[in-house]
């Protein structure tokens, strides 16, 4: 049965490949034949899972590079999706018919709700968790329930947990994993830390005793140094803790050595810290980390810059208030005159509930230097209404034709910022390339 399932998965992947298709269908077929298909596989070397709301793709990609550079033969789902069928496809198509996985390291980005399907079924050696924010609440239920689905599979987990020490909702996973060992990473107080947070905030109550948590400082949103005045639950000591954060030059220091983070924003600094913590746990030399940072490719639509014919355009994905607020901060730091195009869709992958735009500080864009904001996408009018009630006094334009919307933002001596939700990202990217011709 198991061999049949493996064979069917591999065969369907092969056939689909002939037709230039791939995706998660082979895994779906394999799971239909044998729902425990993963349990029958034989692995060698470290198996690393990366999950969390924001940053899991870049973190998983950097970890994949780190393992490769340091000599492992790595399989990852970099090109596949992060749900169970996609993960099964990735692993099984890289296995022999007898179920031996053809690599000595496995790095998987896993959707938060799918951890419960993956972790108990393969011998995971490290689980890296970035953060938990409200993200597509309509799909992912309330965050509390999402975290509890992960907690439910931790009691027997005896590998390493690599956790963000500054997120109380991530640290709490350690409470449910008595057999696991924990490596924490974090960021020290720095120029950008603040005593208050105005951003949508999840980490309000102590997960142990429900008392309100007290923060010494916030780095962003609910990420920071916290403690519970009642039971003593607090930010644990981090094994890797970044210092001297410089968001302009994107640099930080660790153990006295300066590094340049390939990505912008405080949230990306945490991804860098996670990669270093993982290197530390596997005794991988930091020179390889340095190499990962230097060679990290800029993912499409994550502060992706286009410069053609003296015209500058910057594209960013927004998918939840926290990620979006970080994007706002990066745009706010640019004093140049700018036009902004916001493309808001509400398809399933975007999240069908768009109320999060009211939890996002679009007010950060409402500056003298913002000349106009053009709204497009399926819910363009809702976006415009948000800006109107936010008090934007500049020009708000609705343009449902995406190409026209992007093009209308491109003016001489003015920087164009495009912000798009998930399903609007690639169409917006194409509109930019078309518009710049």
């Amino acid at each position: 049965m198991r061999t049949l399932a493996i064979l069917a998965t591999k065969l369907s992947a092969h056939i689909l490949h002939l037709f230039h298709r791939g995706g998660s269908l082979p895994g779906t077929i394999g799971l239909k034949i044998d729902s425990d298909i993963l349990k029958g596989l034989r692995f060698e070397g470290p198996i690393i899972l990366v999950t969390g709301t924001n940053g899991k793709t870049s973190t998983a990609n950097m970890i994949t590079d780190l393992m490769s550079y340091s000599g492992y033969k790595v399989i990852s789902n970099r090109k596949g999706d992060n749900l169970r069928p996609g993960i099964v496809t990735t692993i099984v198509t890289n296995s022999t018919i007898l179920g031996k996985v053809k690599a000595n390291a496995l790095v998987l980005e896993v959707d938060e709700l799918n951890i419960r399907h993956i972790l108990p079924n393969i011998p995971v050696s490290a689980l890296v968790v970035t953060n938990f924010f409200r993200d597509q609440l309509d799909r992912a239920m309330e965050m509390e329930r999402l975290i509890s689905t992960i907690e439910s599979v931790l009691p027997n987990y005896d590998g390493e947990l690599i956790l963000n020490a500054n997120d109380p909702n991530v640290v709490r996973l350690s409470l449910k994993a008595p057999k696991a060992h924990v490596t924490y990473y974090g960021i020290e107080e720095n120029d950008y830390s603040s005593a208050n947070t105005k951003e949508a905030s999840e980490g309000k109550f102590c997960p142990k005793c429900n008392e309100r948590l007290v923060y010494d400082y916030y780095q962003y949103s609910h990420i920071g140094k916290f403690h519970c005045p009642n039971c003593g639950y607090a930010t644990p000591k981090a094994v890797v803790s970044l210092e001297n954060i410089d968001l302009i030059n994107q640099t930080f220091t660790n153990e006295g050595i300066k590094y340049k983070n390939p990505y912008e924003g405080m949230y990306s600094m945490y991804n860098a810290a996670a990669v270093m913590a993982l290197a530390k746990y596997y005794h991988i030399d930091y020179s390889y980390v340095q190499k990962v940072f230097e060679s990290a490719p800029q993912p499409k639509g994550r502060n992706e810059k286009f410069n053609i014919n003296n015209q500058t355009c910057v594209l960013n994905l927004i998918k939840n208030p926290t990620g979006a607020n970080e994007v706002m901060k990066v745009i706010e730091m640019d004093p140049s005159d700018k036009n902004i195009c916001i493309v808001l869709n509400d398809n399933d992958q975007d999240g069908t509930d768009i109320s999060w735009i009211y939890d996002t500080f679009f007010e950060k864009l409402m500056k003298e230097s913002t000349k106009k904001i053009v709204c497009s996408g399926l819910r363009a009018n809702d976006m415009a209404l948000r800006l109107y009630y936010g008090g934007f006094n500049g020009n708000i334009v609705i343009e449902t034709d995406l190409d026209a919307a992007v093009k209308s933002c491109m003016e001489k001596k003015i920087v164009t910022y495009c912000i798009a939700t998930y399903t609007a990202l690639l169409p917006t990217r194409n509109a930019i390339l078309k518009g710049m011709k």
Binding site: E142, D353, S355, W356, I357, D359, L385, G390, G391
Partner: protein, 251 residues
């Protein structure tokens, strides 16, 4: 006389799950554009506030854990809330806030908590953790003002025994999967599962809430006394949902 809207947003710092602050932004702008003073005050757990001082109380939604954590504080304010209601302070309740004014609330893990018990309605949890999720349009009659209200609902709670629903469901779920009715309105409180947030795309409801609140200080004040306001976006945003849900828009 110069009117003022004095809002107390209860548990603003923890019950803010679905962009509820958008409701406050709308009330603020729609008051200030009409030269009505707008004062927003907040009240957290343990804070001393006399709720009778306000003409509008607002309470939004939160996750189960948050909702449980504020119950002792909320129940300790029961007499004060009752007094404010008797003195015509209007109350706007979204999602969790709406549930907590009834008899009880059952969370998705079947834990049951007492509500304020001002009304007979009560909230059970959806079978097998199912939730009512999606865009919704209802038809409401607000003291004679007929209006269609659009929003987004996302609730596991099934609110039953609702004697005076806010409106009839034209598309979506409402108080339960099958009831066909949504929310609660009795002239004193307006409770609903609709967020999105509620007020930006429903200017009639926003103005109605303002009217009800101002009537505390000025019983003669009427909805028609509010200067009409227009913006180019709200009708268009509503149209998108009417079209998508295939609901005919009332004229």
């Amino acid at each position: 006389m110069k009117h003022s809207l004095r809002v107390c947003w209860l548990y603003h710092d923890i019950m803010d799950l679905y962009g509820d602050k958008g409701n406050m932004m709308v009330l603020k702008k729609r008051c200030e554009d009409r030269d009505i003073d707008f004062v927003l005050d907040t009240c957290g757990i343990g804070e001393k506030k006399n709720l009778c001082d306000y003409n509008l109380i607002f309470l939004g939604g939160g996750d189960d854990k948050t909702q449980f954590s504020l119950i002792p504080d909320l129940l300790s304010r029961k007499e004060n809330i009752k007094q404010a209601m008797d003195e015509n302070t209007f109350i706007l309740l979204i999602c969790g806030g709406y549930q907590l004014f009834g008899q009880y609330y059952t969370a998705s893990d079947n834990q049951k908590i007492d509500g304020l018990k001002f009304y007979d309605y009560y909230t059970d949890t959806g079978a097998d953790r199912t939730r009512c999720v999606g865009n919704i349009i209802i038809e409401a009659d607000l003291d004679g003002i007929k209006t269609q209200i659009v929003g987004f609902e996302n609730h596991g709670g099934q609110t039953k025994n609702v004697s005076k629903p806010l409106g009839k469901v034209l598309s979506g779920y409402g108080n339960t999967f099958e009831s066909g009715y949504e929310g609660f309105y009795d002239g004193k409180i307006l409770g609903t599962y609709l967020h999105g947030p509620l007020l930006p795309k429903n200017p009639v409801v926003a103005d109605f809430v303002i009217t009800k609140a101002l009537q505390k200080d000025d019983p003669e004040f009427k909805f028609e006394d509010l200067k009409p306001l227009e913006n180019p976006f709200d009708e268009a945003a509503r149209d998108v949902l009417f079209k998508r849900l295939n609901v005919e828009k009332a004229r």
